[in-house]
């Protein structure tokens, strides 16, 4: 079974530093994400969400355990990341930033042009294509970062709080946009957020992580039919589920802040 999952994490832990400065950031963590599944991860700040995402992306290895990814063997790159801090390049124009992944993949110029074009207009960046990121707002930079990842049409999309810096309205718009994009082609998505509302709207499943070192302490299947739209927020089931997850999360958030005297919940 586990061999068929798109992403399979087995006993993943990660520590940083050594000796007195050792930080146990993550795990042990087990998780499986099926191909075409949209999985959201929520958890207290500093619990290791970004660390887990980096391990999935292959940017850092785990300290223990094995993470495996199934590749469909096609042309599409295995994974693309939307970073929490945008990480777009100040020396490239908006257009060149979005084109970056395609350049590395040596996508033919003509095809790259049309894909970049489409991606810019989807994210409302066409007007600013020649601008350098230094002159953009935070939300616009974040959109560049999202466009840069989407344009490569990766098999797995890894998103680290991609909408955190956006205002509520734009956030809603981009959530709907992402929902639509995803419903078109059902890519595998691992989506980190602090926002339960967002997790329930977008995800097939929501994984709740404990305070650092983060483990999975809860798993919720989101029952709403697809295709979904923002309207499901108004249903009573939505509210009920949100408060159920929040109850679990609250004890973890408290555990992460020593002053409240919380104790860690074992996995």
């Amino acid at each position: 079974m586990s061999d068929e999952a798109k992403i399979a994490a087995r006993g993943i832990t990660r520590t940083f530093g050594a000796g007195a400065g050792l930080v146990h950031a993550l795990g042990p963590l087990d998780a499986e994400i099926e191909s075409g599944e949209f999985v959201c991860i929520v958890g207290p700040s500093g619990c290791g969400k970004s660390t887990f995402l980096r391990i999935v992306a292959g940017l850092i290895p785990p300290s223990e355990g094995v993470l495996s990814l199934g590749s469909d063997g096609g042309q599409a790159p295995l994974a693309a990341v939307v970073f929490q801090d945008y990480s777009i390049f100040p020396w490239k124009t908006v257009e060149a930033n979005v084109r970056f992944g395609l350049d590395l993949l040596r996508v033919p110029r003509h095809e790259a042009d049309t894909r970049v074009e489409r991606s810019l207009s989807r994210l409302g960046l066409t007007e600013f294509r020649k601008a350098y990121p230094g002159t953009l707002s935070g939300g616009m930079r974040q959109r560049v970062s999202i466009a840069r990842a989407l344009v490569t049409e990766p098999q797995v999309l890894l998103m680290d709080e991609p909408f955190a810096a956006l205002d509520a309205q734009l956030r809603h718009l981009l959530q709907d946009e992402l929902l639509e994009l995803w419903q078109e082609d059902r890519r595998t998505v691992l989506f980190i957020t602090h926002n339960l509302d967002e997790a329930l709207l977008l995800g097939d499943r929501v994984l709740v992580m404990s305070a650092r070192p983060g483990r999975i302490v809860g798993e919720f299947k989101v029952p709403f039919e697809r295709p979904r739209s923002g309207d499901i927020r108004r249903s009573p089931e939505f509210a009920a589920m949100e408060s159920e997850i929040w109850d679990l999360l609250r004890s973890e958030v408290a555990a992460g802040i020593p002053a409240t005297g919380g104790t860690k919940v074992p996995a």
Binding site: F83, W91, T152
Partner: protein, 284 residues
């Protein structure tokens, strides 16, 4: 105390935020500022020269050591007419530019190599620091011994001076590239060449141009120093020789020419740098 005072002040009157002259008419403001900038840029040196002229012609300073700007100008014309100045300029500039080119290319390439390959950096950085500390002019005799009296030892010396400034800055620039720029490249599967082209080169460019400007000054300085002590051509020789012949006017012609060379050189490097790093917006 102060905090209380401040608070009392702010509560006792209203503070308004209003559009300033820039906001009310940005174009007129920019035009006016450009005019003022140019006046300052040209006016300040002119004022200095006028003051100098006045001080000398009123006899406050000894004209034998402090020739008036008019004297210098006359001598300047004379030296241009005889071709002496052009000859000195060409001979100095050829060596400066050659040395500068060799030194900066080697420094940048070496800096990138050391920045990227850790073992190389660990092995060579202390040696570079050690050699950097030796005053370059101190090894001129050694170079003369090794390479004879021609241009070669002079060009090597200038190249060395430029090399150390650029290699040290380049190493620092490469090693301080934020992870935030390298991670996206890695996550998109960039290979070494692609990382180099898309990330490393543009990321270090601004720092490199600062180093290149410093190195430009260094190159001029070294050239003059070399020409003082060795050979019979170039601006340095012209200044030194004028001193020996007690020709203060011509000495100043040389000094002013060196200063102009320095300004033009550094401004050119800065200009090229600004063209090549359009994403950097210096606050005016």
């Amino acid at each position: 105390m102060t905090a209380v005072d401040l608070q009392r002040n702010t509560t006792s009157r209203r503070i308004e935020r209003k559009p300033g002259p820039v906001e009310r008419n940005p174009r007129a403001f920019m035009r006016r500022r450009r005019i003022i900038d140019n006046l300052l840029r040209i006016g300040a040196p002119i004022l200095l020269i006028v003051a100098w002229q006045l001080v000398v012609s009123t006899g406050l300073l000894d004209r034998r050591f402090w020739p008036a700007p008019t004297d210098v100008l006359l001598s300047f014309q004379e030296n241009v007419a005889t071709g002496r100045l052009a000859e000195a300029l060409v001979s100095s500039m050829t060596r400066i530019l050659l040395g500068y080119l060799i030194g900066s290319v080697a420094g940048i390439l070496g800096g990138i190599a050391l920045g990227v390959f850790r073992p190389l950096r660990i092995a060579l950085e202390p040696i570079i620091s050690a050699v950097y500390t030796v005053p370059k002019l101190a090894i001129l005799p050694l170079l003369l011994l090794l390479f004879g009296l021609g241009d070669v030892p002079k060009i090597i010396l200038i190249a060395l001076g430029v090399f150390f400034v650029t290699i040290i800055s380049t190493i620092a620039a490469v090693t301080s590239i934020p992870e935030g720029y390298l991670e996206p490249a890695r996550s998109f599967g960039a290979n070494r060449v692609q990382t180099f082209r898309h990330i490393i080169v543009p990321a270090i460019m601004p720092d490199i141009f600062v180093a290149l400007r410093l190195a430009a000054g260094q190159a001029v300085l070294l050239m003059i120093g070399i020409e003082f002590v060795q050979g019979d051509e170039g601006l340095g020789y012209m200044i030194w020789n004028s001193w020996q012949l007690f020709l203060a006017d011509r000495m100043y012609v040389g000094i002013v020419s060196v200063a102009l060379v320095g300004v033009v050189f550094q401004t050119t490097v800065k200009w090229i740098g600004q063209r090549l790093t359009p994403w950097e917006k210096p606050r005016n």
